[in-house]
């Protein structure tokens, strides 16, 4: 995070390369998650002898953790807004808050997974279970990578290298973070809220 961000007018479109890179990446990620979600949907009623999705989902619990993730998008955008104003301190606080909410979400996921495991839904129980854990696991990994990036920003903020000048870096991490949130909005509705088959 050291390079002097080149002035934006360098590029033909006037858009920064980095931001475009992130958007291209997110466009690509749509097909990744789409594939995983489809793999889940075609398998959701193939639960073999194991628990069915409708039997095992704990909607109230997941609603809370979804809400947590949703709110982390707010803190993220507030962090960006702060750094764009040059408010390094608030930026740092909001970044930390975002990372914290993200971790809370991951904690919730770990809890959910262990509960499922106890109730007899292991990774290898059925096509449904494999698809469920793979999809939510991929999402969880994305969130975790996001947390690592947020923490790197926090560290560089403490070292004083995160300033208004490179607010774009915060913006880009933010884009990634919001995307991961948006994916969860999809997953939460389609996988949890839409009634699932029961055994």
């Amino acid at each position: 995070m050291s390079s002097e961000a080149h002035a934006v007018h360098d590029t033909t479109t006037g858009i920064s390369n980095n931001k475009l890179l992130m958007w291209a990446f997110l466009g690509s990620e749509c097909l990744l998650f789409g594939g995983l979600i489809s793999a889940y949907l075609v398998n959701r009623s193939r639960f073999h002898t194991g628990p069915a999705p409708g039997d095992i989902f704990d909607i109230p619990f997941t609603s809370v953790s979804s809400f947590v993730l949703l709110m982390s998008s707010l803190t993220m955008v507030l962090a960006l807004s702060a750094i764009q104003r040059g408010d390094v301190r608030n930026n740092r606080i909001w970044l930390l808050a975002t990372a914290l909410l993200g971790s809370l979400f991951i904690g919730g996921q770990v809890y959910e997974f262990t509960t499922f495991l106890r109730e007899g839904l292991g990774y290898t129980t059925s096509p449904f279970s494999s698809a469920f854990f793979t999809l939510t696991g991929f999402h969880g990994v994305h969130v975790s990578v996001g947390i690592v990036m947020l923490m790197s920003l926090v560290i560089s903020s403490y070292r004083g290298t995160l300033t208004k000048k490179n607010s774009e870096t915060v913006e880009i991490v933010g884009l990634y973070w919001h995307f991961v949130d948006v994916v969860w909005i999809f997953i939460f509705t389609v996988i949890y809220l839409v009634p699932s088959p029961t055994s």
Binding site: S16, L32, S130
Partner: protein
């Protein structure tokens, strides 16, 4: 002059400036090649690697043909045969045609849009090294005697652990995963390069058709690679962690794999062909001395092919039992891809119409594409008709189809590109006499080899069979095809000899003067071979075929008359101290970690540790490495050209800011 250059071109000794390396720069030796972030060197690396793998894949093809030359062949056994044809398919598709496209794209695309480098030079190096790592990882499976044997499309459940208990399919899944990362990175990089690094005045519709086709291909990669990524992840998890995505015993449906594979796989075939279409669209106009006929149509048909390519994948599944309605829908969508492709063919022919055709080797290969691809395209249309395809699918008729489109379309196109751009890259032309031998032996041999496969297929010979019995009418044409391949091999040899002899002949001579072909696009503004900084000064673009328009104009009678010689128009290539990105070790180090992680998954998780360490350390180092080394030979400096302000404006001066994205990801 570095040793590795000499390697590429054994006889191009030190006196002859080669490739990207026209000016001596500090360092030198192999380190330059390993650490380079120069898009031209990376392009050369891609090309050399692809040609190496072409010999590997070709050798596998020779074994296939020897085995099938006679009924009840005994050259290899069933098990080995299955590995050979699988690796042949994978090698040719992922390690020959795709990297050849990357080679041309890397070298030429920045030049054609008047840029100094790609948007993210280090990412560019990274994608090459990751590709190489993936290719070596895949071929490492030969050394452990356990190469993939499930066919290149690896239909489940045959590729699950139950039916493929060895490590072969793990090599397949992890190897392609690695190669896929490389494609994805390079796709994002090139897209942003095209969108953001164009010379002033170069609007999208002033870009050469080649640049356009590469752009379309990168979008196809951007969206198609994640799909196979998903498929491969699921396969790896099934095989290594006991999940049940493709396990019918637990109630899963094996057709899921087919959908995921072909959603990627069909766009993939256009990924293979469009770069070649781009090359042909540069070569034919140049050697016809006419602009491309219907530029907009050419561009839009390319885009249309790219789009339509997403809606046809199930034509590979006509007999999978997906139901008549789906089959009917995919039949229709597939048939109409012939329309935009036909536009291209006919526009090329119209470009030649009324021109003055010079049949240099490049032009021969390009016109070879026009006719040979058509043969493959037409057989493609016959199997687009699903009822007919039920007789054709999985026979040699299909094998004939795709070799006509891939060899006759893609590969011949790349050879046209070799002959056309060789002076640009290496400073000397390839010999014309040998070039013509190269072309005719390849063309004839290829038709002898693959033409009879149509007949074999219609006679009912299934593909992927390691042997066949006499009495089915397969004997004659199989032998015939095998003989044909030896003619192809001869053709490839002519090419190799040509490369060597041309380099030797050029030794000690000054490099090729500018504009050897009376060409039309921006890359020819710079001298041959391209200097390391590409362009001395920014080119202001005001029309398509800018280079041509600087040389020629029309007089009152509408006749084309020269207004400047190429030497006047071209740049001298002697600008100094141009701001360029600095080399870096981290791309190659990072890439080296990936195959180790792969091997760890297969053999012993401990091997993952050094692999992961390599990746983590190099990522960390990457992030904190200044993209510009102030002390380095490529470091800060200022253009001393007449207009000092240029330095800031040079589009694509390897904008180091770009690399920060590396830090956030």
């Amino acid at each position: 002059m570095s040793e590795s250059v000499a390697e590429l071109n054994p006889n191009g000794a030190a006196t002859q400036p080669l490739g990207a390396y026209s000016r001596p720069k500090g360092g030198g030796g192999w380190r330059d090649w390993v650490t380079t972030v120069d898009h031209k060197k990376i392009g050369i690396l891609y090309g050399a690697t692809a040609l190496f793998f072409f010999v590997v894949g070709g050798f596998e093809a020779l074994l296939i043909r020897l085995q099938l030359a006679t009924p009840n062949g005994t050259v290899v056994g069933a098990d080995l045969y299955n590995q050979i044809y699988t690796m042949h398919g994978i090698t040719m598709v992922f390690m020959v045609i795709m990297p050849l496209a990357a080679a041309f794209a890397n070298y030429l695309l920045p030049l054609q849009i008047g840029a100094r480098d790609v948007a993210f030079p280090r990412f560019n190096a990274l994608s090459f090294w990751i590709f190489l790592a993936g290719g070596l990882f895949l071929n490492f499976s030969w050394l452990v005697g356990d190469a993939p044997d499930g066919g290149w499309f690896a239909y489940s459940p045959n590729t699950g652990v139950t039916f493929s208990p060895g490590h072969g399919m793990d090599f397949y899944a992890i190897g392609l995963q690695i190669v896929g990362i490389a494609s994805l990175i390079s796709a994002m990089n090139l897209i942003i390069t095209v969108l953001n690094m164009r010379a002033p005045g170069m609007t999208l519709f002033k870009m050469p058709v080649f640049t356009w086709m590469i752009l379309v291909v990168q979008f196809l990669l951007l969206f198609a690679v994640p799909v196979i990524t998903v498929a491969l992840f699921l396969l790896v998890f099934d095989r290594n962690f006991g999940s049940h995505f493709f396990n019918p015993e637990m109630g899963a449906d094996p057709l899921l794999w087919q959908h995921l594979f072909w959603i990627f796989g069909h766009p993939e075939v256009y990924i293979l062909i469009l770069p070649s279409f781009g090359i042909v669209s540069e070569v034919i106009p140049t050697f016809s001395r006419k602009p491309i006929f219907g530029y907009e149509f050419m561009v839009f048909s390319g885009i249309a092919i790219g789009f339509m390519g997403w809606g046809v994948w199930a034509h590979h599944m006509f007999v999978s039992g997906i139901g008549p309605i789906s089959v009917g829908a995919f039949t229709l969508s597939t048939m109409f891809i012939a329309v935009p492709t036909g536009v291209k063919i006919l526009n090329w022919m119209a470009t030649m119409w009324g021109g003055k055709l010079r049949f240099n080797s490049a032009m021969l290969f390009a016109t070879g594409v026009v006719s040979m691809f058509t043969v493959g395209g037409l057989s493609g249309v016959t199997h687009a008709l699903s009822p007919v395809d039920t007789q054709q699918t999985d026979t040699y008729y299909i094998v004939a189809h795709f070799h006509y489109v891939i060899f006759g379309g893609a590969l011949l196109g790349f050879f046209a590109g070799f002959y056309f751009w060789w002076p640009k890259v290496f400073g000397h032309k390839l010999g014309e006499t040998l070039g013509k031998w190269n072309f005719w032996t390849m063309l004839v041999g290829f038709n002898l080899a693959f033409g009879p496969m149509h007949i074999l297929g219609l006679n009912g010979m299934s593909r992927r069979i390691d042997t066949y019995s006499p009495g089915f009418g397969f004997d004659f044409w199989n032998l015939f095809a095998t003989i044909g391949v030896f003619v192809v091999t001869l053709g490839v040899m002519f090419f190799v000899i040509n490369v060597i002899l041309s380099a030797r002949r050029a030794r000690g001579l000054p490099p090729e003067p500018p504009d050897p072909w009376d060409a039309r696009s921006l890359e020819w503004f710079s001298p041959n071979p391209t200097p390391v900084h590409n362009f001395d000064e920014v080119i202001e673009v005001s029309s398509l075929d800018e280079f041509w328009h600087r040389k020629w104009t029309t007089d009152e009678d509408g006749r084309v008359v020269r207004k400047a010689t190429a030497a006047e128009v071209c740049q001298a290539g002697d600008a100094e101290g141009v701001h360029l990105p600095s080399p870096s070790y981290w791309p190659v180090v990072l890439a080296a970690g990936l195959p180790l992680i792969g091997l760890g998954l297969l053999y012993n998780l401990w091997i993952c540790v050094p692999g992961t360490l390599l990746v983590l350390v190099s990522t960390y180092a990457w992030v904190f490495e200044p993209p510009d080394d102030p002390d380095g030979p490529f470091g800060h400096g200022h253009d001393e050209g007449d207009d000092g302000s240029h330095d800031e404006d040079v589009p694509g001066d390897g904008s180091p800011a770009g690399q920060e994205a590396g830090s956030v990801e």
